[in-house]
């Protein structure tokens, strides 16, 4: 479990980035953090994996403050996928890149080699490829694979789909979904509300360094006050569903006013028309 208790953080004494943030993430959850640029999402992620320490308050991983944990201890618990894979990739071959985490943790051995082989097969990589010659989407997959291979119980993803085309996005998110189904806790910062709606089970909304809403995905994304307060644009089907009763208030009780997905909306329309 990850817990923030009244966490304050800043990069500069004059500019507070987090101002009293508190939440808990239970094992096995899939949580998306959303909000505008500068809301404090990425800072929250960096505090979660120990890259930053709080100015005040406490960040706990399984009940232990991050200030009392070594970086290597946190790394075993929390994997971190940077937004830009080039911030992460540092080896000359795909195989070396996948082994890098084990080397950093001092855990190279037959078990590590076997896990790397398994991930190479699962992701369909060529182990001898030069990572820096791969396209952006494949580098993103490699960065994700280098986290997956270490099998941390928590995986943090900072904008995992930025810069990817639709097919690459589907591939990356399918792997993340499978990780979650296998029991991994997923914490994701994401600006793509369609991705958030499709995958996250819970959404935490941040604005100006604080948490302004936190709950089941569509409860949050359908809350007009939250959308206004955090300048959020909901997934398009939710947006339509929220707009329809405003055009005709008789639709307020129709299934149309509660549809969250394209399938749900299509079914609701068919029902309404018939």
């Amino acid at each position: 479990m990850i817990e923030f208790r009244d966490v304050h953080a800043s990069y500069d004494a004059d500019i507070k980035v987090l101002d009293g943030v508190s939440f808990q993430i239970q094992d096995g959850e899939f949580v998306a953090f959303v909000g505008t640029n500068g809301a404090g999402k990425s800072t929250t992620m960096r505090l979660m994996n120990g890259l930053l320490k709080p100015d005040a308050g406490v960040v706990l991983i399984d009940g232990v403050p991050t200030t009392q944990l070594k970086t290597s201890q946190i790394a075993r618990q929390v994997g971190f996928l940077f937004q830009n894979p080039d911030s992460q990739i540092c080896s000359n071959t795909v195989r070396e890149e996948l082994l890098f985490g084990f080397k950093a943790l001092g855990e190279v051995g037959p078990d590590a080699e076997a896990r790397v082989d398994g991930v190479i097969k699962e992701f369909g990589f060529d182990p001898d490829d030069d990572p820096f010659l791969l396209n952006r989407g494949t580098r993103q997959l490699l960065a994700l694979a280098s986290i997956v291979v270490l099998a941390p119980p928590v995986v943090i993803l900072d904008e995992p789909t930025t810069g990817l085309d639709y097919k690459e996005c589907v591939k990356v998110m399918d792997i993340i979904r499978r990780l979650h189904e296998a029991g991994t806790t997923i914490v994701m910062v994401c600006h793509d509300m369609e991705v958030v709606g499709d995958f996250a089970k819970r959404v935490v909304v941040m604005s100006q360094g604080g948490v302004v809403d936190d709950g089941p995905t569509f409860d949050v994304l359908r809350n007009p006050q939250t959308l206004t307060r955090a300048s959020l644009i909901p997934p398009q089907i939710v947006d339509i569903s929220l707009a329809l009763p405003l055009v005709d208030e008789r639709l307020a009780t129709s299934p149309l006013a509660f549809a969250n997905t394209t399938d749900e909306m299509q079914a609701a329309i068919a029902q309404e028309v018939c």
Binding site: T36, N37, G137, D165, E194, Q236, I240, V247, T262
Partner: protein
């Protein structure tokens, strides 16, 4: 403004052409959105439009690209850059100074803009992107989104006839992304600027672009107004281009005979169309 005639280009180190047989005519003042899967050739196409190809990347170049009457093969990259302003996808590779004001000044000084015009140009460019308050800030202290606006403002200050942007909203939240497109659209309309944007966020292109270009396998599969292109949502999906969900919903309803109107490009159009369907 831009005429591409049967363009084929193969990078020297590549076995096959990356773009092949491309013909495209972009009128003055047109707002063009280019999209397609990774590796489809859309970046190469933009390099051909801002002169990077053939001036920086060696290779086999067939056909012609004409910008504002200049054949890109017959003029220097400097000549082309006087007409085409480009904003890179990797903003950090474009920013060369440490203070916002200096960054906007850099291009103006390099272009030899008369001294008495500089203050007005800097102020106008910063205002057009809504970042006047950042004028004296240290760039390293700003967010990725703010840096993207600075890079765009620095190019706008040069008053290019063509503005070319590669994923200008990659690091922006949805509201800021939309705000950037609104600013670009308004600027282009006010100044008659031709805008070419490479973008994966097709919902933004659908809403703001006059022409949507879909590149696949080094060729143009569609080049038309967004409404005409989005009518092919099933085919686009196979090409790795996912239509806005409002479009997909209405196309699906059209497919089962529940909707007979025009293709919807955004949430507002879909909402209005749905009200008619229900009525």
């Amino acid at each position: 403004m831009i005429q591409i005639d049967d363009l084929t280009f193969r990078y020297r180190e590549s076995e096959h052409p990356v773009v092949e047989g491309i013909t495209l005519d972009i009128p003055d003042g047109c707002f063009v959105g280019i999209t397609g899967a990774a590796g489809s050739g859309k970046s190469t196409l933009t390099y051909a439009m801002n002169g990077i190809i053939p001036h920086c990347y060696p290779g086999d170049f067939y056909g012609s690209v004409t910008i504002d009457g200049m054949d890109t093969c017959d003029v220097s990259l400097t000549d082309i850059s006087q007409v085409v302003g480009s904003v890179c996808q990797d903003i950090d590779s474009q920013i060369v100074t440490s203070i916002v004001e200096d960054e906007v000044l850099y291009g103006l000084e390099n272009f030899g803009v008369p001294h008495d015009q500089i203050e007005e140009r800097v102020t106008e460019a910063l205002q057009s992107m809504g970042i006047e308050d950042l004028r004296h800030r240290v760039i390293a202290s700003l967010s990725g989104g703010q840096k993207q606006k600075i890079a765009i403002a620095s190019v706008l200050a040069l008053h290019p006839k063509v503005l070319m942007l590669d994923e200008p909203t990659a690091e922006l939240d949805p509201a800021s992304s939309r705000a950037v497109f609104q600013l670009l659209s308004r600027y282009a309309w006010e100044h008659g600027t031709t805008v070419v944007v490479v973008e994966q966020k097709i919902a933004l292109l659908s809403e703001f672009a006059d022409m949507l270009v879909i590149v696949d396998g080094g060729t143009i599969r569609f080049a038309d107004e967004p409404r005409a292109v989005l009518a092919h949502s099933e085919e686009l999906l196979k090409l790795g281009v996912n239509c806005p969900r409002s479009t997909t919903l209405m196309n699906r309803l059209a497919g089962v005979g529940l909707y007979e109107g025009p293709v919807c490009c955004d949430v507002q159009e879909a909402t209005s169309a749905l009200m008619e369907v229900i009525a």
